[in-house]
């Protein structure tokens, strides 16, 4: 396919082309549909694509534009959604069998915002069932493959969202990040992925995994596009009590302003053993680049880092055990046809409807909340979570952002970690503390291994300082644009 094809362009470029009349939204959407039809057999990023609906939205955008109306820079641009974000009348499976026949009767707040911006909301993207996993192998509908190496995982849980952007099936997508589920797959697929500050983006309409950690965020090929998508979906939402009332600046406009080179912290706990050598080398190169741009770098310490995985798996599973209780076979979820009585309806429907990892986490979580164990597990985990947050607060008195690798390794092979949950859990070791502390984090592509697998670095910012974080990420990204390199498919 020609590199001039709209599918290889960034959203920012497409927006200019749409404005200039070089392309229509229908043409763009049609190109996207064709791309999905060509490559998704291999990648399997999509669980569902309502072509008619996408084209109807594109047509509406073109009609608006023909009367001189344009709702936003995203007007007419397709955006794919992880299949945990509700879109009215579209399926919402969470990659689980238990929601096989469910269609959402309402729009998530981010969906409303995208529609108000004129974006073409198209496609339900694959994930680990209920966002539980780091490889997209836990999807009940089959795994997504890494577009850079179809033998390897795209990461997860938002593997469909990262792979769809990497494979140029959509220019933009949304995922959700509970412990790294946006940043880790972004890193493994060589695209930009960002988890905003907890409370920046409404969770209303996001099928919850762990409510105190979940946050919706964008995928794109450049930091510039991430800024564009983030400013569209952010903002206070009266329907989400954990949403923060704060004015949202235009991040993309902020990017254009000259930014002062600041101080970047390098937490020593994140550069220890267990990291792949090539990942280490690429991340160190990116640190060098920042130095060359005039940034100061400084070793810092986040001593509670080793608590983050155990703390995360107590808190996230506890919340999940309760959040997933609603999938019970009574109303909208699939009911086991072997159920003989009321208890059966619960036990068999959930037994048949949930995959192994979801069951494991629900059991873990219920155990941690049980009478007699609550104080030892859940309550202690909450206290340790405070320590993790305080670590960051201390560090941010000295630095503007913290730089770490996003994942300890590049994309791994199918089955490599799926038999051993602990080794899978460890692939989120660099991303989890960000969620526990509620901070914004972004993964930016920082090169490729010798075998051609993408590597990502992570930048962590201060709470609600997305603008500063994006500026720092952009300073690196505009000089490299690794995310603009497309895999051969």
């Amino acid at each position: 396919m020609s590199q001039d094809s709209p599918i290889f362009k960034t959203a920012t470029e497409l927006s200019a082309d749409l404005t200039a009349g070089k392309i229509s939204s229908v043409e763009l959407t049609q190109a996207m549909i064709e791309r999905v039809e060509t490559v998704d057999e291999k990648v399997h990023a999509f669980l569902h694509l309502d072509k008619e609906d996408a084209l109807a939205q594109a047509k509406a955008s073109d009609e608006r534009r023909s009367t001189g109306e344009c709702l936003s820079p995203l007007d007419g641009i397709p955006v794919g959604l992880k299949d945990v974000i509700s879109v009215k009348d579209q399926p919402l499976t969470a990659a689980s069998k238990i929601l096989e026949n469910y269609r959402s009767p309402y729009d998530a707040t981010v969906t409303v915002k995208l529609k108000q911006a004129g974006a073409v909301v198209a496609g339900r993207l694959n994930l680990d069932e209920f966002a539980m996993g780091s490889s997209t192998e836990n999807s009940a509908y089959g795994p997504t493959r890494n577009p850079w190496d179809l033998e390897r995982v795209p990461g997860g849980s938002s593997g469909g969202s990262s792979a769809a952007v990497a494979a140029r099936e959509v220019p933009l997508s949304l995922g959700s990040d509970t412990g790294g589920s946006i940043r880790q797959p972004a890193s493994l697929c060589g695209v930009v992925g960002m988890k905003p500050t907890y409370g920046m983006v409404s969770r209303y309409g996001l099928a919850a995994f762990a409510s105190s950690l979940d946050q919706i965020g964008p995928f794109s090929t450049t930091v510039e596009d991430t800024a564009l998508l983030l400013e569209t979906i952010s903002g206070h939402d009266p329907l989400d009590s954990t949403s923060f009332p704060k004015e949202i600046p235009s991040y993309s406009a902020e990017l254009k302003k000259p930014a002062q080179a600041g101080v970047i912290g390098l937490p020593k706990e994140f550069f220890g053993p267990g990291m792949d050598d090539e990942v280490r080398a690429k991340v160190e190169q990116s640190i060098e680049h920042y130095r060359s741009l005039g940034y100061q770098t400084k070793e810092v310490s986040l001593p509670s880092t080793d608590l983050s995985i155990p703390v995360y798996y107590v808190i996230a599973t506890a919340e999940a055990s309760s959040n997933l209780a609603r999938y019970d076979g009574i109303r909208y979820t699939s009911r086991s046809n072997r159920a003989q009585n009321a208890i059966d309806v619960y036990a068999k429907s959930r037994g048949e409807g949930f995959g192994a990892e979801v069951k494991r986490r629900c059991l873990l979580g219920a155990y941690g909340l049980s009478s007699g164990y609550y104080d030892a597990y859940y309550l202690r985990a909450q206290k340790a979570r405070t320590l993790i947050r305080q670590d960051f607060e201390r560090v941010f008195k000295e630095v503007d952002a913290v730089l770490t690798p996003t994942a300890p390794t590049p994309a791994f092979k199918f089955g490599e970690k799926s038999e051993d949950p602990i080794s899978m859990y460890l692939s989120d070791i660099f991303t989890i503390s960000t969620n526990l502390a509620g901070l914004p984090g972004i993964s930016v592509p920082c090169g490729f291994t010798q075998s051609g697998l993408p590597v990502g670095m992570q930048l962590i910012g201060q709470a609600f300082e997305e603008s500063s974080l994006l500026n720092i990420a952009h300073a690196y990204d505009r000089d490299h644009l690794y995310g603009r390199q497309a895999p051969n498919l």
């Binding site: 469910y102 959402s104 009767p105 309402y106 409510s211 009266p238 055990s321 309760s322 019970d328 859940y378």
Partner: protein, 492 residues
């Protein structure tokens, strides 16, 4: 051996907020099934709760009225259990930081007779917490149907200490609590509509001992008489068990109102582990002094305080105050009328006898109506407090006999006409007019010269026969004072 029962109550009260506890959809009773729902009520994927501020405010009001300590910060917890009446399979409630703690409910036990005041005492409260109500299940032979209209409505749970000892006390407690809550305007507390529901924790012990016996929880006490009967039955059952040497097991039992006995639901071993934890979807609620002060300004006078004021300041008899003070609307009516009327006692009597009788008759017709706003209240009835005061003042001024007033009142109630309208219409105001009465008196003397002679001869009582004749001729509508004066004048 003599036994003593120890009883604590958990009373659930639905708050009359416009929208549900955690979403904007409306509340209501008697709507078609599953019409008061939305993604939040139905627990759809992605739906999130948002707290109803009015429910918090109404809870603060209840707390202040009952003398509770209002929490500076209260929080929301999830109570996890699987049951189809709750689509999320957890209920948002308050576990270890309820909105109110402590407090008291004043109760009055029945006196020797209805005219005598009974003894008063305070029943201690443990706590009050706010939660969301669940849906309603209806079980059929093959399957069960569920209606989520009630699900998610704000529900206040008022928990008493094990501080009551008889079904009579339980009844007195519920009555007093209900009167206070209705007066505060936070709920209609209609048990038939499930707006007030009650569970009781009951144990018995030998009288004079202080350790508590094994506690049994009774559920499904959903009418006032059900509570009284259920508690009475359970006390008898436990006493009988002890006397027979059977062990009482800690369990939950269900009151069967038709058969009038309790049956086991689940034992302690079968009790749920609710796995409470703070709801991560909701923020804790800070309640500052300013908020409390603002709510405090809207507090009504407590019913028993009002009753004492009526007895002390207005010299009302106990029986009238006890009828009045169970109904804050009746009290409001009474106070408006008595401000204009010349006798507080007469006003009270007219309100509790005549007005109440007419109201209950008017409401009987509408018994099957489901809309509570169709119920006629003292305020919406055709006789205004001004009309009643006018009637009372005419009697006091001797311009209307009590008997005639009693006859006119029902007509005022049905027609909405004032007493002066009716007097004019019926020509009743002429009867104190000397001309007509003089004529009738003269006739009476002429027709009963015997009595007239006797009176003239000094037999004072003989005048009564003449008065009776005049009254008969005027169908009781003549002013007795005027009749007396006229007869004496004519006979002198």
């Amino acid at each position: 051996m003599e036994y003593e029962a120890v009883i604590g109550l958990e009373v659930h009260v639905q708050l009359n907020t416009r929208s549900k506890m955690f979403t904007r959809v409306g509340t209501g009773f008697g709507q078609p099934p599953n019409t008061l729902t939305d993604p939040v009520v139905l627990g759809l994927p992605g739906a999130l709760p948002v707290m109803n501020r009015d429910a918090i405010e109404k809870s603060i009001k209840v707390g202040l009225l009952l003398g509770c300590k209002i929490a500076e910060v209260c929080k929301w917890d999830r109570k996890n259990y699987f049951y189809p009446d709750m689509p999320k399979n957890y209920q948002i409630s308050q576990f270890d930081q309820p909105i109110c703690e402590g407090g008291k409910v004043e109760i009055e036990m029945p006196g020797e007779n209805p005219a005598k005041m009974g003894s008063h005492r305070m029943v201690e409260l443990t706590r009050i917490h706010l939660e969301e109500d669940v849906g309603k299940l209806t079980h059929y032979e093959q399957d069960s149907l569920v209606d989520y209209n009630r699900a998610g409505s704000p529900l206040l749970e008022i928990v008493s200490e094990p501080d009551m000892h008889s079904p009579e006390e339980v009844f007195a407690y519920l009555t007093s609590l209900r009167n206070s809550l209705v007066a505060a305007g936070i709920s209609a507390c209609d048990m038939e509509k499930g707006q007030l529901r009650c569970d009781a924790n009951i144990s018995v012990r030998p009288k004079g001992t202080t350790t508590l016996g094994t506690k049994v929880e009774i559920k499904n006490l959903n009418t006032i008489s059900g509570v009284r009967n259920g508690v009475e039955y359970e006390i008898r059952r436990q006493v009988r068990a002890i006397e027979e040497g059977t062990e009482i097991i800690q369990e939950t039992r269900r009151w069967n109102p038709e058969q009038k006995y309790t049956t086991p639901m689940r034992t302690k071993e079968m009790a749920h582990d609710y796995r409470y934890f703070p709801d991560p979807d909701l923020m804790p609620v800070k309640i500052d002094e300013a908020w409390i002060e603002r709510v405090a300004k809207e507090l009504p006078e407590k019913p028993f305080d009002k009753q004492r004021r009526y007895q002390k300041d207005m010299n009302l008899p106990y029986s009238a105050t006890s009828s009045l003070c169970g109904d804050h609307l009746l009290c409001a009516y009474f106070e408006e009328a008595t401000d204009l009327a010349k006798s507080a006692t007469k006003t009270a009597n007219w309100v509790v006898n005549d007005l109440l009788r007419e109201l209950s008759q008017a409401n009987k017709v509408d018994e099957f109506s489901e809309e509570s706003d169709k119920v006629m209240t003292p305020q919406s009835c055709p006789v205004s407090p001004q009309n009643l005061a006018e009637l009372i003042n005419l009697i006091e001024d001797g311009k209307l006999t009590n008997n005639v007033a009693k006859e006119l009142f029902p007509e005022m109630f049905t027609s909405g006409k004032t007493v002066s309208d009716l007097i004019k219409e019926k020509g009743l105001d002429q009867k104190s007019d000397n001309g007509e009465i003089e004529g009738i008196c003269a006739d009476a003397i002429a027709n009963d010269s015997d009595a007239a002679e006797k009176f003239r001869g000094g037999k004072e009582g003989a005048i009564n026969a003449l008065k009776g004749a005049v009254m008969k001729a005027t169908r009781g509508q003549a002013n007795p004072k005027v009749v007396d004066e006229t007869l004496r004048r004519l006979l002198s």
